[in-house]
């Protein structure tokens, strides 16, 4: 009898319809920032060349041009940071992009960041806590439309010990 009950239970559970897929026709137009910055403070060694990892997340369904898009006209992702006291920064190093094409034009290949991406910033810093302010300039598209270029404020926090 218990066996029978168990089998009935198993049968009921198995018979539930699968969840329907969500609406994938257009990523939300109202996403206020297509890219966000992970502001987690970092700790590095003082007086020694270290690399800060600037982590960015891209909202689901969007992509941004990489630092090296395939056309001059496309707006590249670029970070600009103001100099900070006690910090000597080298040029930022950008990750390689991935290939992307719009479905209606598979031959036109673009170079984009489609998921989270990390910009590396080599620095040498004096001991102490530091704050570097700047902006990430980027231009996002989804699978069928492009959004105007935006500037994301970035505040890099780290301690050199």
């Amino acid at each position: 009898m218990v066996l029978g009950a168990l089998m009935i239970c198993a049968g009921t559970l198995a018979a539930q319809p699968a969840r329907q897929m969500g609406d994938l026709t257009r990523a939300s137009v109202r996403a206020t920032s297509y890219v966000t910055y992970d502001a987690e403070p970092q700790v590095i060694e003082a007086g020694k060349r270290s690399v800060l990892a600037l982590r960015f997340q891209i909202a689901n369904g969007y992509h941004v041009n990489s630092h090296t898009p395939k056309s001059e006209l496309l707006i590249p992702t670029k970070i600009t940071l103001q100099p900070a006291a006690g910090v000597k920064a080298e040029a930022a190093e950008y990750p390689a992009g991935t290939e992307f094409s719009f479905s209606f034009s598979p031959k036109d290949k673009l170079n984009v960041y489609a998921r989270d991406f990390t910009v590396r910033l080599p620095i040498v810093a004096a001991a102490g806590t530091h704050e570097m302010d700047g902006t990430l300039r980027y231009q996002a598209c989804d699978h069928a439309a492009c959004y105007p270029p935006k500037s994301l404020p970035v505040r890099v926090l780290f301690t050199a010990k």
Binding site: G4, A15, Q20, M21, L24, T25, F102, A144, C146, Y147
Partner: protein, 208 residues
């Protein structure tokens, strides 16, 4: 007791069989939702204002504008009164825009005999006339390119993203709006709809 257990087992097996059949029927009836191609049937996904801010202009008079063209002339929408017009917002940095513009050029030639015209309003006037002209040339468009300003973008619902197209009939009424890249077929269907709209029976009889 053996009979009892056998009965239980049989009941269990029978039940499982019923469940399996029910599952199969349910699975057969299930509709699998797959992502629609961008802007599928007649801009149906652009119906909500949130999806396409320009959608609220459907059925209304197309907002008037006077803008500078690339060759320095002043061009107004009113200059095209009595002609079906596609008002298209684009930018040099907008890849999907540049994908559809060659289609526009082809379709414009095809339907020019019916008075159809396209106006390409560039939302990145600050890119400079040279860059815009070079881009237009490279894409191969010969229809008028106008430098949009904030005023006209606001008038057309605030151009939140590109490309945005407004199909205006001979009477100046917006018969269709689309946001984002759609297929050449859909664009052609919208053009035909625009040409046919507001036309007198005599004009329609002219055919393609």
């Amino acid at each position: 007791m053996i009979v009892g257990i056998s009965l239980l087992l049989w009941a269990g097996w029978h039940n499982l069989r019923e469940r399996r059949i029910a599952m199969q029927t349910a699975a057969a009836n299930q509709v699998m939702l797959t992502p629609a191609a961008p802007q599928s049937a007649s801009g149906q996904d652009s119906d909500s204002e949130e999806q396409n801010p320009g959608a609220k202009l459907r059925g209304k008079t197309a907002p008037a504008f006077t803008l500078s063209s690339l060759d320095g002339k002043k061009v107004s929408l009113a200059d095209y009164k009595g002609r079906p017009v596609l008002v298209n917002f684009w930018a040099t940095w907008c890849a999907p825009c540049k994908i559809e513009m060659p289609w526009f050029e082809e379709l414009r030639k095809q339907y020019a005999g019916q008075g159809f015209e396209i106006l390409g309003l560039t939302a990145d006037a600050d890119a400079g006339k040279d860059a815009i002209a070079k881009t237009a040339q490279k894409i191969g468009v010969t229809y008028p390119i106008l430098l949009a300003n904030e005023k006209v973008q606001d008038a057309y619902g605030g151009i939140d993203y590109l490309p945005m197209s407004f199909y205006v009939d001979r009477n100046g009424k917006v018969v269709e709006t689309t946001g984002g890249l759609s297929s050449k077929d859909e664009i052609e269907a919208n053009i035909k709809k625009t040409i046919a709209s507001g036309a007198t029976t005599a004009a329609v009889k002219g055919g393609e």
